[in-house]
Amino acid sequence: MATTTVPVSTRAALPAARGRAGFGGALRSELTKIRSVRSTYWSLIAVVVITIGIGALFAFGRVQNFSQIPPGGQALERARDISQATETSLFGLILGQLVIAVLGALTITSEYSTGMIRASLSVMPRRGVSLAAKAVVFGAIALIVGLVTSFASYFVGQAILSSQHINSTIGQPGVLRAVIGGGLFLAVCGLLSFGLGAVLRHTAGAITASIGVLFVLFVLSGFLPSNWAVHIDKWIPFNAGGAIWENQSGTSMFSPWTGFALFCGYAAVALAAGLVLFRNRDA
């Protein structure tokens, strides 16, 4: 660094400019951003490991319980376990959703905590384009990782359950939907958190809010008196989003796609609020 000399020329023979800076460039930029920081890899690995690990543990528990039932009583138990085999293997999503939520929030809040947002907006001032590109890149990565995680969880879980023949198979009605749904669920959890991040702009606040919406509401709903619960439970974000991968026998829940659509609606509200504020607030 011991130089005070200045280059002879700082000029560049850049290719002639055509059109204007737009969505394509913003997408490439956001992809570079997300792939060039370590926190992305750590959190994605955590999503995969935690989701698969908890699903496997849950499946293992089922197998252990089943093996202790005297042979005479196994038939009834087997039918029940098989009907729940898919969601048993996907149960790790309950924590995996929180990890993807952390990454979703960080994707936007780290720009504020580092100050990078000022550099970003002073090269690409069309804010709606910037935020949309960021959401698309993060959403795509979250969906791919979500699907891989969900399928891996399913197959690992079923392999464990199959030792007692209490597993499901991917061809059974509703199973493929649930497994794909697990991936969709993770992606939408991440985007919901991303939207909250754009609203709140602080990492800790955004993560806390996401955990509140995705997890704490769900836990609290367990304490409701049952005559309220039948009306309220299905509206809880986790229950609505979970409808697509859980085999909810209870009639008080939404059907898989209705519930998931509602969950997407919650995420859309967070994203829309984030977009409006992002466009209008001082950076």
Partner: protein, 316 residues
Amino acid sequence: MIEARGLTKRYGDTLAVDDLSFSVEPGKITGFLGPNGAGKTTSMRLILGLDHPTSGTVTVNGRPFAELAYPMREVGALLDAKAVHGGRSAYNHLLCLAETNNLPRWRVDQVLALVGLSEVARKRSKGFSLGMGQRLGIAAALLGDPGILMFDEPVNGLDPEGILWIRNLMKALAAEGRTIFVSSHLMSEMENTADHLLVIGRGRLIADCTVPEFIAANSRQSVRVRTPQPAALSKVVATAGGTVHEDGDGLMVVQGLGVSQVGDLAFENSVRLHELAPAQASLEQAFMELTASSVQFHAGVPVEPELQPASAGRVA
């Protein structure tokens, strides 16, 4: 060309920028001066659209910044060298900025070489020194080979070597025909580099002129005299319309008269002089005088018309 018209920004109760109108002319180094908190950074943020003005407009090459087709090709800005994600390498930091404006990858390597960061390009910027961070910020500003460059307090906290580098770079950039808009709270910094000055205090424009004009208009010239006959000199000077104050030790400072006038007066009246010297007010003094009371100043002294021809002649 940057043009602000009636630019005003209010944060809650604080009026950060107050009805600011100015032009930054192409092909020159324009110094943007004011004490800390005068509204320099806010004005630059308004130019870049980071903040929305409460009222007024500001355009870059005739259009609001957000409407420029390729912003990086027209304006490069270094507002805050710390505005980077420390976990990202210098190369990736520049690449993600370049990609937004469809700039080629080779330009990233080129600007890294320009600022002397090629060897640490793959290192995370977290470990960079202040000077290296500043170079990275300048590399980012140069990516699009823009005609206008804005630097906010670029030498703040740098060692002498870094300061010299930035100074030389700014001159080189201006010599290439670029418009440079650089802020500082240090007058001395501008004395060497700036062609033109915009001075602000408490959010208001208080001077828009060249450096010599600024000194001439805003500092009273004075003459240092040492004499064993202070009483006699005081009387003579007062009669001729000057003012004197004694600094003790026989040293006197005369204001309102030139060096030759004081010398002639002393000779004609047989007052013995041991020392006679002009005390040239520095830009720093002029600036302090002006900004210390920027509000009163604004109320009392018209900015543009009187600063120019009348005063320019007085400064050699």
